[in-house]
């Protein structure tokens, strides 16, 4: 058991060594680009054009194909960051710190998308741009946490140190975010009986549900693509004075 574990760890460390990572990610990047973008586009097209109209909300419910996957993705990315943070703290694996750092702006972006689309969706359904709905509120707080992590990282000059600093914050975050979600839910029922909730409103039929699943897949693939691209940039920026970087670029030119 221990042997297998060590094997996995060493493999992870080896694959994560910056020059090697840059090499293999260059190979898979075109494939990832093709697959992720095609699944993403197909999912959106299916959801936005071919799925049936909701009888209650009309066509505006189609925002669900953008809003819900990005909201879920915003939370999943934080989970991912906490795992990376744990690896960074315990085993001091360099690449996991860089992964953590590169995932943060993507997570913030998807959380922002969820916030903006949620607020746009609110306009026709609630009549206002913003309602202190439990889901929207906890998404807003999640966005603040992402912003804090990005701000903290940029304020520390030594980037390896900054990685470990944000891994501490992400570990605190992953413990507190469920409590935040639960307490915001509670707060909502305390102050105003929930009249209308965004996601449970349309009664989903299978032909509404299937494109949503495809959208989920597409969003996750897009995340993988953006993460790979961000990580490549991060790796190169941090090691720009090493010899392998200029060598890689020479290879690309040939």
């Amino acid at each position: 058991m221990n042997k297998i574990w060590n094997y996995i760890k060493n493999w992870f460390i080896e694959m994560g060594s910056p020059p090697l990572f840059f090499k293999w990610s260059s190979k898979i990047l075109p494939w990832l680009l093709f697959i992720s973008i095609s699944v993403f586009i197909v999912g959106l097209l299916w959801g936005l054009f071919y799925s049936p109209t909701d009888y209650k909300q009309g066509d505006v419910y189609r925002i669900i194909y953008i809003h819900v996957p990005s909201a879920i993705l915003g939370q999943s990315i934080f989970m991912f960051m906490a795992i990376c943070g744990f690896i960074t703290m315990v085993w001091r694996v360099k690449i996991s710190g860089m992964l953590l750092k590169s995932a943060a702006p993507i997570g913030a972006s998807f959380t922002l998308i969820a916030l903006l689309t949620g607020s746009i969706w609110g306009k026709p359904t609630w009549g206002t741009w913003w309602v202190w709905d439990a889901r929207l509120t906890s998404t807003l707080i999640l966005f603040f946490i992402y912003a804090a992590i990005i701000g903290l990282h940029s304020s520390i000059d030594d980037k390896t140190k900054a990685d470990r600093a944000i891994s501490i914050v992400s570990l605190v975050g992953i413990a507190i975010i469920p409590i935040i979600k639960k307490s915001v839910d509670w707060w909502q029922t305390l102050h105003q009986p929930s009249t209308f909730s965004l996601t449970s409103a349309p009664s989903m039929t299978p032909d509404m549900y299937q494109p949503l699943l495809l959208c989920f897949l597409g969003f996750y693939l897009i995340f993988a693509l953006l993460l790979t691209m961000n990580l490549r940039a991060e790796v190169v920026v941090r090691e720009k004075n090493r010899s392998w970087v200029s060598k890689q670029f020479l290879d690309l030119e040939r």
Binding site: L44, L48, I63, S70, P105, I113, I120, W121, S246
Partner: protein
């Protein structure tokens, strides 16, 4: 044909909301695409300048 397209774009008067959501999605993902590539290009240029 044109009526069909305009019906899709209009979406019973809700089109503006849906399309602006789609625009936000592509805009923010586009920024995320652009930034790392710009960083890579910058380093690439620096390396080129160093090599010459």
């Amino acid at each position: 044909m044109i009526e069909q397209i305009s019906a899709i774009i209009n979406m019973d008067g809700n089109g503006l909301y849906v399309w602006s959501c789609l625009f936000i999605l592509f805009f923010i993902i586009g920024i995320n695409f652009y930034l790392p590539n710009r960083k890579l290009k910058k380093i690439y240029k620096e390396n080129k300048a160093k090599g010459q």
